[in-house]
């Protein structure tokens, strides 16, 4: 792989030191809820005392955030509405079949919220964070800060202390939400910091399909900063299907900490799709805390230009008879780069567990680079864990074979790339999501010259 080719980077040359954020303690939003206020104060203290991560830390070894202008980012409020472009209609359409049971649109911290009256009657809460703090502090307290700890890092602490908005979803015991719920966080202004906190709590015997999307247009000059914590709890015998789609503009620096706790015999189907952003560092974790719990993670990514996408995934088997299954597949064009570092951890006593992880990458350009690092840490005896990681290219014999049947070279390549992603598509039960990914493949392939 050639490292010699000049790389055109939007940002100015790397500095040796990162700049620091200029947020202040008086930006914390206190609420009169003692738990929440303490949490935010504690988080602020951690945030203030934690330096920005550097490439000396294992988790950040392959992701350089020094070119980020942290000192310029200001927390986004409604006065920062300089770009009032409408949200593309495509982003508001249902992706998971049928009409939405509820929809939240957070457009620069202004919330539009809809939830089917029937679901309101059943006690389902689906609202923005500000409303949740005011109207459902007791429910919020069940989860906020309890799945993702502010101690996990600078960004996790920052979001816990300062998040201006987010989404709160609560499904009471025994309630099956049939129509999918959808939330969209839209917009990434230059020099803005958009911190969001997403919280999902399913009591026992509940089920829901929830699609959470973050997106913005690409702005030509400058940077925008996005950080999010996603905390989810899925109670006994419950079922969560969670789809998250990231299509930030190319000026966005994006950081997330995400974790789900899955209780006895509960089931989580978690789907990731990433096509946007300038740089993303994502920590995603599946904690199988109850016996019989099952968690599935499926990832789709396609990077181009100078995009950098770094996923850290963790499948933690913390109870016996638990099952996890991860498949992440990505294609890369131009001089983009991806990192996937996965770990299956099996705790002492978590016997009869079945863990699987695989990451497959397809390099479509000489200058693209994918790092794929699987890992196993098994402290129980009776387990079945398998993993696989590959980085490959299109085989020219495949191209010739397809061309020999009359298919033009670019179409042949597109067909092979679509085929590469097919195993991921097979895992996505939503036509709309699959179509979105197909469109992304076509768009990204248009940059590909073979």
């Amino acid at each position: 792989m050639s490292e010699q080719t000049p790389v055109i980077v939007r940002q100015s040359r790397s500095r040796t030191e990162s700049t620091t954020f200029k947020f202040s303690q008086d930006q914390i939003r206190f609420t009169n809820n003692e738990y929440l206020d303490n949490l935010r104060q504690t988080a602020w203290n951690i945030y203030a005392n934690t330096p920005l991560p550097t490439m000396k830390e294992e988790a950040w070894r392959r992701t350089d955030i020094r070119p980020m202008h942290a000192d310029k980012f200001q927390l986004m409020d409604s006065s920062s509405n300089r770009y009032q472009r409408d949200i593309p209609v495509d982003l508001l359409r249902p992706l998971a079949g049928g009409d939405h049971g509820g929809q939240i649109i957070l457009n620069r911290n202004k919330a539009q919220i809809y939830l089917e009256p029937k679901l309101v009657e059943q006690g389902v809460v689906f609202t923005d964070l500000l409303t949740a703090e005011k109207e459902y502090p007791d429910l919020l307290e069940k989860i906020i800060g309890k799945i993702v700890s502010p101690a996990e890092g600078k960004f996790a602490a920052m979001v816990t202390a300062l998040a201006l908005n987010g989404v709160f979803l609560y499904v009471p015991k025994g309630v099956n939400v049939e129509a999918p719920l959808h939330s969209l966080i839209w917009g990434a202004d230059i020099n803005s910091a958009n911190l969001s906190h997403v919280l999902v709590y399913l009591e026992s015997n509940a089920s829901v399909t929830y699609v959470h999307e973050v997106a913005s247009e690409t702005l030509p000059e400058g940077q925008s900063f996005q950080a999010a914590n996603i905390e989810m709890y899925v109670g006994q015998d419950s079922n969560l299907r969670f789809v998250e789609l990231q299509s930030w503009g190319r000026h966005v620096w994006n950081f997330t900490h995400e974790r789900v706790h899955i209780d006895h015999n509960a089931n989580v189907d978690w789907i990731f799709g990433a096509i946007g952003g300038h740089l993303t560092k994502n920590f995603a974790e599946l904690d199988l805390i109850g016996s019989g719990s099952v968690g599935k993670m499926s990832g789709f990514y396609f990077t181009d230009q100078d995009q950098h996408l770094d996923y850290d995934s963790q499948q933690n088997h913390l109870a016996a008879h638990t099952t996890s299954d991860l498949l992440f597949k990505g294609a890369l064009v131009e001089h983009s780069r991806s990192v996937w570092q996965g770990m299956i951890y099996v705790a002492p006593g978590a016997d009869k567990t079945d863990g699987y992880q695989a990451n497959r990458n397809l390099l479509l350009s000489r200058n693209a680079r994918a790092d794929s690092i699987p890992g196993l840490e098994i402290l129980a005896d009776d387990v079945r864990c398998t993993h696989g990681a590959t980085v490959g290219k299109i085989d020219p014999e495949q191209i010739f074979y397809l061309m020999a049947r009359g298919i033009a070279q670019l179409d042949a390549e597109r067909l092979i790339v679509e085929g590469f992603f097919d195993p991921i598509m097979q895992r996505i039960p939503f036509e709309g999501v699959r179509e979105r990914f197909q469109t992304a493949i076509l768009e990204k392939m248009s940059a590909y010259k073979g």
């Binding site: 010739f400 179409d411 097919d422």
Partner: protein, 256 residues
């Protein structure tokens, strides 16, 4: 009736000359066989006719329908009506047999009419189903990933299925008999025979005479050392079966 005319074809791989002046004319409606020992350039001829980028043509021409085929990319040759049934079809994971054949058919339709919306799904399914029945293929086969984990026999059937669906004018069968048991060979040969007719010229490339019991050739050519050294009717194949290639080799050397 069009004919494929190969004139003085010289081909090298990585600087080494494999074909040293091949001349051959294959009209639509006829079946020609090329026989010869291993390593004599038969598969090189097949790949060169289809346009594999690793084969370098140093001299000669291949004319079909007034065009020098050698100037065309592989897909353009296919659209012109040339088909190669591969000896070793490559796997395309994630692309089903049906999806692939449909893409190939649509590429044809669009080459004729750029505005074409593609073959209607129902019509396509009906056609695939009936062709698969002829080839005694399980209907579930259409949903499998192309050549991915196929047995030798399945791969060869899939090649003939593609031929049936794409309806070429010139079909080159490269060692289609290799790796087939007698039942599979019969099925595949029946498939080819069904497609035979005034519009199809077939070039059967084989090491053994066996397949020619099922696909009757009009002309048999013997290739040796990168040239066609002998041509005759189907009895030539029987001679070779009885007496081996040594007989021809001696005859050729004797002339030289």
């Amino acid at each position: 009736m069009a004919e494929l005319v190969i004139r003085n074809l010289h081909v090298s791989i990585e600087g080494k000359e494999i074909l040293k002046g091949v001349d051959l004319t294959l009209p639509q409606g006829e079946v020609h066989a090329i026989m010869g020992p291993n390593g004599t350039g038969k598969s090189t001829l097949a790949y060169t006719l289809m346009g594999h980028p690793s084969y370098e043509v140093t001299e000669g021409e291949v004319i079909y329908r007034g065009q020098n085929v050698l100037d065309l990319a592989a897909n353009e040759r296919s659209l012109l009506g040339i088909f190669l049934a591969f000896q070793y079809p490559v796997g395309i994971p994630g692309v089903t047999v049906a999806n692939f054949i449909r893409s190939a058919i649509n590429a044809r339709r669009r080459s004729i009419n750029p505005e074409d919306k593609g073959v209607p799904l129902l019509e396509f399914r009906r056609e695939v189903k009936s062709q698969m029945e002829l080839l005694r293929m399980d209907p579930a086969f259409a949903g499998r990933y192309l050549n991915d984990g196929f047995s030798g026999g399945e791969k060869k059937r899939a090649e003939i299925l593609q031929m049936a669906m794409l309806k070429p004018e010139i079909a080159i069968l490269d060692e289609t008999d290799s790796g087939l048991d007698i039942d599979a060979l019969k099925v595949v040969s029946d498939g080819v025979n069904t497609l035979k007719g005034p519009d199809l010229g077939v070039l059967v490339i084989t090491h053994y005479q066996r397949i020619l019991n099922y696909i009757q050739p009009d002309v048999v050519h013997v290739m040796m050392g990168g040239r066609i050294v002998e041509s005759g009717d189907k009895d030539l194949a029987l001679h070779l079966e009885e007496r081996g290639y040594e007989w021809i080799r001696e005859k050729v050397n004797g002339i030289a």
